[in-house]
Amino acid sequence: MRSYRPAQWAWRACWLAAGLVAVGFLVVFFAAPAVNLVAQGFTDENGRPTLSVMVQTFASARTWRIIRFTIGQATLGTLICLLLGLFGAHLLYRVSWPGRTIVRGLVSVPFVLPTVVVGVAFRTLLAANGRLGFLGLDGSWQAITAALVFFNYSVVVRTVGSTWAQLDPRRADAARALGAGPVRVWCTVTLPALAPAIASAAAVVFLFCASAFGVVLVLGGTRYSTLETEIYTQTVEFLDLPAASTLAIVQLALTGTCLFLSGRAQQRLQRSLGNASPGPLKFSGRRDGLPVAVTAAVILVLLMAPILTLVERSFQLGDAWSLANYRALMATGDDSGMATSVWQTLVNSLTTAVWATMLAVGLGAVVALLLSRRPRSRWGRAGLSIGDAAFMLPLGVSAVTVGFGFLITLDRPPLDLRSSAVLVPIAQAMVAIPLVIRVLLPAVRGIDPRQREAAAALGAAPWRVLGTVDLPVLARGLGLAVGFAFSTSLGEFGATSFLARPDHMTLPVAIGRLISRPGEANYGMAMASSVLLAAMTVIVMSIAERLRPPEVTSW
């Protein structure tokens, strides 16, 4: 009798090897930096364990002010997003009217814009000579809040809206038939059904607000800083690594809590929405008047004004229309301290993004395939559920922490990558991998296991089952995954600003550099490069969105 054992072991060994590569990558480029970062906060200069750094940091009033500002800012931003977003969700997902799809697309643009670009856009809008300069908000905390709302508005609209669209309208009808007025129906039927989606959106928005870096750095200047910008300032300007470490630990705790709460809310999302597939409501002036007014104001003032002003001003020099800002991109700028031209940084950005995308999508695809297995043994199942959580972790950890961790960990043997050009793509891939997995995994997990059984019963060996059942499904999500990874990498600012060498900057880092220098020419170049970067991101994402398979919903 022939033995089939060797073939089965070889197949299992392949999966094990793939798993080890993926886990190895996570350990070297995520776990090790994170652990090292935490350890830094608890050791003194001589490497002895101590609490003194912690005590010193927490004794300082500045630390508490920054923590208060981070949490307060994020809370306020989240609340405003929810308030405005609920009107938008109703109007864009529950009610049907011509042009709805276009407006939905318009609203989702800000979310994919690079943070630095948004910072520059808001500064341009609110500057003394800007379109809304009369408000006197330049350099204020209100400007930061507005920019955070700009970013995250679409998260609320999409998350709550997609749930709202599936809501069985007969529930509200039932309540109305029992004598409830519109307000009571909304409070007792609609709101409870939406609550899990609202909670989930709130947790995600809070997370994004609390870990916003580029926007705060550009808009807050030296007056306002959050944990993220403070970690950066302590590291880059004061060279106080222990203090930065303690702040990073606080940041880790904050985002960890958020991620946990968001996961809890997601679980509650499983609540039944009723089983009808309802059509959208017809537009009614009386009911939808307020949502229309609010949403129109949000779109015009909050979403369109900054972008349009940025585009307009990028074509002006002094008071005259000119392409000078764009022409200046070929040079290094006025005293900007840049070793290369902006065009060169654009080329750097694109090459870096290509490498980061290949790494993130390649590794993400392997991980998605691994996590979609259904092993029969108990050990296999345990490993799977750990892996599931482990690869989502980087999503909750801020980019600044990743960059900072790399900086203090990968600068000495056994792995000295300080002067290596691979550091930036790897860091960007680390930021993008959770997104890639979130796109690919649901599709592969959605494959009916009997499809694989049917293929096997037809005589297909395991590798052929993988190639003919799993890979075609994976491939459909690949376009969106590549788009996400590429645009994330293209706009990545937090981690890259720690790691990019002056002679090999990326475009977002160059913009950050330009805007922090005085001089009209530098500012003009910052605006022109921002427009360039925004245009590229939007193009990449709109191509990717077209390739979106129906199973994948974002956030």
């Binding site: 009798m1 033995s3 089939y4 054992r5 073939a7 089965q8 029969r376 009916d448 009997r450 499809q451 059984e453 049917a454 293929a455 096997a456 019963a457 037809l458 005589g459 297909a460 060996a461 395991p462 089952v465 003919t468 059942v469 075609p472 499904v473």
Partner: protein, 341 residues
């Protein structure tokens, strides 16, 4: 063709003392089942949901590893052989066609290593066999449920399986289509002389397709017989209930109520109890009518037997409004329950 039979004896499929547990120490989904299927035979496994019939099929296919017992083909132990090397075809309740391949791509899936022209010819031939000629280029989402099952059958037959396993292949279809396709399946499988196990919970389907019908209950194979033997000699009350043969009545009670002498308990299927419209006489009892309904143009009443159980009775006129009717029994239609004497 000369079959070489291994030391296990039996040609065709032989399942020996097979036990399947999904959790170690948990309840057995398949409990010590032994079963032989001779080459070319078509057997149906009949059972309620949860009776273990699908688990048995999956263990035979190699999708589930049994805790104990062996699966043999022509006397050779195949228990450790992976699914794709067993040469057993499998067809699911909902077909499980590959959505990203067209009809021809699905049917030709198993035909690897065949020159393209021959493959195309073979696919056409198989589609012809299942009555789907000319559907090669159609997307599988475009065809109906019944057509999808035909394509799934063609796909399973393409691999020329030594044994074909059908897991509730008609359950997702409506009734009319089901009976037509059941007859077609029998004809198609017959024409290819493929040894087949057909799992179903529908007795009409089982009786329509199979040479032999096996009844599963709580993981055990309680009876394996030809359809007529199974109908006339169900092994126990559970089989009677599965076949819908009415209440089981002890011999003494039959003598007491109807004055009929029977050996051992009998079941009272539809047709065994007749409503007598004439004068009451010996061998008749008066019973209460619980409800009445029209079945294919004939009135069928549900009556309450003296011990309170319900049974169906037919015949007689004007009984749909009566509160009480007189019953007599047709001894030839009675079904003897229990091991044959």
């Amino acid at each position: 063709m000369v079959r070489r039979i291994g030391e296990g004896g039996q040609a065709g499929l032989s399942v020996q003392d097979l036990t399947v547990r999904y959790l170690p120490g948990g309840p057995a989904a398949v409990d010590g089942v032994s079963l032989d299927v001779a080459p070319g035979r078509l057997i149906a496994l009949l059972g309620a949901s949860g009776s273990g019939k699908s688990s048995l099929l999956r263990a035979v296919a190699g999708l589930v590893t049994p805790q104990s017992g062996r699966v043999l083909w022509d006397g050779e132990d195949v228990t450790g052989v992976p699914v794709h090397r067993r040469g057993f075809g499998l067809m699911f309740q909902d077909g499980q066609l590959f959505p990203h391949r067209d009809v021809a791509g699905n049917v030709g899936y198993a035909l690897t290593g065949m020159p393209r022209a021959r493959r195309r010819a073979r696919v056409a031939e198989l589609l012809e066999l299942v009555g789907m000629a000319g559907f090669e280029k159609r997307a599988v989402q475009e065809i109906s449920g019944g057509q999808a099952q035909r394509v799934a059958l063609a796909r399973a037959l393409a691999a020329k399986p030594r044994l074909l396993l059908l897991d509730e292949p008609l359950s997702s279809l409506d009734k009319a289509l089901r009976s037509r396709l059941a007859a077609d399946i029998r004809a198609m499988v017959r024409s290819t002389a493929t040894t087949t196990i057909h799992v179903t919970h529908d007795q009409d389907e089982a009786f329509a397709v199979a040479d032999l019908v096996g009844v599963m209950e709580a993981g055990r194979l309680v009876q394996l017989d030809t359809p007529s033997e199974l109908w006339n000699h169900p092994a126990d009350e559970a089989v009677v209930e599965l076949l819908g043969q009415g209440p089981v009545v002890a011999a003494e009670q039959m003598a007491l109520w109807f004055g009929v002498r029977v050996e051992g308990p009998v079941a009272l299927p539809v047709g065994s109890l007749l409503v007598e419209s004439g004068v009451a006489g010996p061998g008749q009892i008066r019973v209460e009518v619980a409800s009445s309904r029209l079945v294919r143009g004939r009135t069928e009443v549900e009556v309450r037997l003296p011990d309170g159980r319900l049974a169906a009775a037919t015949g007689g006129g004007g009984m749909d409004r009566a509160e009480f009717v007189d019953l007599m029994v047709d001894a030839k239609a009675l079904v003897h329950v229990g091991p044959r004497y």
